[in-house]
Structures are given as structure tokens and as C-alpha cells.
Amino acid sequence: MPSRIVGGVGLSHVPSVGPAIDRKREQDPAWKPLFDAYVPVREWLRKRKPDVAIVVYNDHVAEFTFDKYPTFALGAAERYAIADEGFGTRPLPAVPGDAEFSIHLCEQLVEAEFDLTVCQEMGVEHGFLVPMNLCFPHHASDWPVKSVPLQVNVVQHPLPTARRCFNLGRALRRAVESYPGDLNVVVLGTGGMSHQLQGKRFGFMNEKFDQWFLDELEKNPEGLASLSHHKIMEEAGAEAVELIMWLTMRGALSPGAKRVHRHYYAPMTTGMGLITFED
């Protein structure tokens, strides 16, 4: 039986969420609004009965370094190790993959003329782990879904365009639907929202832009696909360019996919957005 995409989630992957979970601080006044927003999202995800999560994210100079930097890298392993990105290794079980499904995706995407780096071994860090913690919390020694990490270069220019990321999403949908494994697949588009970490504008956020982006992601993703990196960085901060990865998620959903949840919280240095779609 063919496989299908049953839902998409756009969400921030702020690194401090990891330690907040590890140290059980989810009920702290500053954290509670964020974690409370995910309770109905997790319930909704469980009802979609997902088998695999395709997580579109960026590494932050931990697994991939500038000696050789892939534009798009897709994991094709049976398990992904927890990477140390400079702050120690979080106490999490390794993440299970679905190598056969990953390889099918690689073959289909390369045939659709997307140039991927295929990773048969890959460690994952906060860009991937925080969304997994929030959407698919792990059990003691396992995770409730298998994963396919899809890593996008958004950290060292030249970056792939927003439109390229959107089109990759569309091709990803076709690749998923041609897989005969009868899988229910959820796509996570991660990163953002508005934030800047480098230089004088450290701490910059732009809620107006973020809310507009959430509106457009639902109703006019084609318009977002036309955004230049420069425009996103100017309006929302240099590091907000991560938002192009949300377009891969949106492109993998049907144009009329129904938006279910929406949340926004910006206590410190990042506009933390959350949006879900049913398909």
C-alpha cells in the first residue's frame, strides 16, 4: 500500500528547551506557556498514528563542518547518535531511523533532480532533538516514531533559496506517496522564528513578521517561497533565515491542508512559533 503524509508541524528548535526538559523545568513560569501549547499538539499527533517523522532542520556546526558542507543532507541510517555540539551529550536514547524508507526518498529526490548528500551515518543535535522532544517525547530507551533527518544548510552562505526548499517539499510529498510501505508520515519544519544571534542586533525579534509568516504559511505559501534570504534576515534577524525550512514542510502538504494549532511565545531571544496542519 502507498504511504501518505498525515500532518505537518512548523516549530522552533530553540536549544535551551533541551536542558529545560532534562532538568524538568517545564512548569517554571517562564517555560510553562511554551510547554502547555504542545500538550494538545502531541495528543493530535498520536491520533494521526505516525510511523515516521521526517524532520527538516539544520545542524549548528556540530555534525557538519565547513571543510565539507552539504546543501541538503538526508539521513539513511537505522539509528542516529546524539551529537555533542559543544555542551555535552544529552541523556537521550539514540534515534531510530528507517533506512529502507530513507533510501527510497533519496532515490526519488535525486531522480527529481535534487542534489542530496546521502548520510549513512549521522549524529543529531538540538535542531533535530528539540522538535522531537516536543512532538514525540522519548521513553526511557526508545522513541515512539522512526525518523528521517533532512538537514538543510542555513548557516553558511550560499544557502538554498526559499523556493528551492518549497519545491523540495513538493518532491518529498511525491517521494513519500510512492513508497509502498503503508507508512503514516509527519513532516516537521523547524527553526526560527525571528531571531538574531550575531553582532549588534543580538536579541532582535519581530513578532509582526512572525505572525505574518504564520498567516502566509497557511494561506499563501507560494508567496513565502518568493522571499529572498536578504528580506527575511533584514525583517526578522540574520538567523531567522532558518524559516525557509518551514517551506519544505509546507510544500510537502497539499495546498488546502487544514491548519489545526497555532501558538507564539517570545520571552527571551527567539520568537517561538508553532503551527500544525492536517492532511
Binding site: V61, K200, M268
Partner: protein, 89 residues
């Protein structure tokens, strides 16, 4: 060097003897001076990638917010007072 600081052993080596570590990775004198002075603003202006710099922050006991305050030209306390939730550290 920043990539190497993703390993606990290298972070320990850096903490024990940062001059030796910097020499091993053949940093230029300008680069070494920026790191000696913990000049994060200068490192960014010299072209360091922010995520690479976070590894140096970790190895030198400088949190993201401390480095950020310096890049803004503010004290840590002044920076925190600009946040929507001042206690959310």
C-alpha cells in the same frame, strides 16, 4: 578548532592550556588575541560563524547571553532587562 571543541576531551585540553590548543590548530596571532581577550564582538566582525563561536563560549564559560550582551555593547544585566521575561535564563 571550534569543531574540535565539540568533544569533551578537546574542551578539557582547551581549558588546561588554551595557548597550546590554539597553536595546535595554527590560529593566526590576530585570531589568538581575539580569543585571549574573549572579544566575541571582534570574532564575529572578523568573520567567525556564530555557531562555531558558541563552542568557544562553552569552553570559556561564556553563555550565549553573556556573549550576546557583549556584542550589543551592553552589560549582561542591561541586556536581560531588555527581554520580555527577564527571569527566563
Amino acid at each position: 578548532m571550534c569543531a574540535a571543541l565539540c568533544s569533551p576531551a578537546e574542551r578539557e585540553a582547551f581549558k588546561r592550556d588554551e595557548e597550546a590548543c590554539m597553536a595546535r590548530f595554527a590560529l593566526t596571532e590576530d585570531e589568538k588575541n581575539l580569543i585571549r581577550k574573549r572579544d566575541f564582538k571582534g570574532l564575529i566582525e572578523a568573520g567567525m560563524n556564530i555557531y562555531a563561536m558558541l563552542k568557544i563560549g562553552s569552553a570559556t564559560g561564556n553563555s550565549l547571553y553573556r556573549m550576546g550582551a557583549q556584542m550589543r555593547g551592553e552589560s549582561y544585566e542591561a541586556f536581560l532587562s531588555t527581554r520580555n521575561m527577564k527571569d527566563a535564563v
